[in-house]
Symmetry: C2
């Protein structure tokens, strides 16, 4: 496939250079077109069905998919755990790129991060593949310091985000 | 003056509802057109001349005025104090609105805020007045919690930001 540096798609699916001390990332080609992944990411009723690995679930989701718009979820665990998260969208390129953060909330207001988090900025890109049916899905979490990155890794970042992606693919395939 | 809710200018210069427990704000009509204020805000060599009240000075300034672009300054005090700040731009509407934050840096990477700050998201709006020569300038700082807002107020927020605005008006008038 020929690429040009100025292609809109390439720009939208390009991530900043990775910092292995601060970032965690998963990257997989999945057999679903980008537009279906996008729907499952941006419609609250769909997001609730895949966004955290079962048996955890998303009991509430509020998404205003524009820079400065609310991105609020409540995650509930099988033993009654309840984790509310309020963040915001930073960058939105339909069907190609979403940037979110948990250190700002609606209207870009700073979040009190003393709850320990882990807080991060998330970048998700959706790069359509040449077959027209599949998509390279990259999801990165960027942390403020190495200790937070390590804590997030120890919490099972790779297992959790891959399990959620499996659920995303299963759901998006039905759309 | 007739206003419509859909006017681009009105939207760009509209701030979110103020939260008096978390926000600090100055608002003044100044006798300089918006395009000159914009230049003094967005060109590093100009920003350095007004951005902190004398005898403090900005010894370094790096601005990439786009969402996710770097907004880095170093402030130096008369007794050798040196305060580096690295933030980013969140929203850019030329000659009307700038949103910046100190809790994210270039590429929207979270900042380690354990230095105590005060950290905040800043919104600056430039609303041209009917006379064609003056501008309502609003600058707001939004904080994560009331303690940070109070600390910022106690550091002399209103005096400092108004003194910097005086310097901005003086400089922009010469452009």
């Amino acid at each position: 496939m020929t690429r040009t540096a100025t292609s809109t798609t390439d720009t939208a699916t390009t991530l900043p250079p990775i910092d292995t001390a601060l970032d965690l990332e998963i990257s997989r080609v999945v057999p679903v077109p980008a537009d279906k992944l996008w729907r499952a990411w941006t419609e609250p009723a769909l997001l609730q069905q895949w966004f955290c690995p079962r048996p955890w679930r998303v009991s509430e989701a509020e998404l205003d998919v524009r820079p400065g718009g609310v991105f609020r979820t409540v995650m509930e665990g099988p033993n009654g755990e309840r984790f509310p998260n309020e963040g915001t969208f930073l960058e939105v390129v339909p069907e190609r790129r979403l940037v979110t953060t948990s250190v700002l909330r609606a209207d870009f207001r700073p979040v009190d991060t003393s709850d320990g988090g882990p807080h991060f900025t998330g970048i998700v890109t959706f790069e359509p593949q040449a077959d027209g049916r599949s998509t390279r899905y990259v999801a990165r979490a960027m942390h403020a310091d190495a200790a937070t990155q390590q804590a997030h890794a120890a919490m099972g970042f790779h297992e959790g985000w891959n399990a959620a992606l499996d659920q995303l693919v299963e759901l998006a395939s039905t759309l």
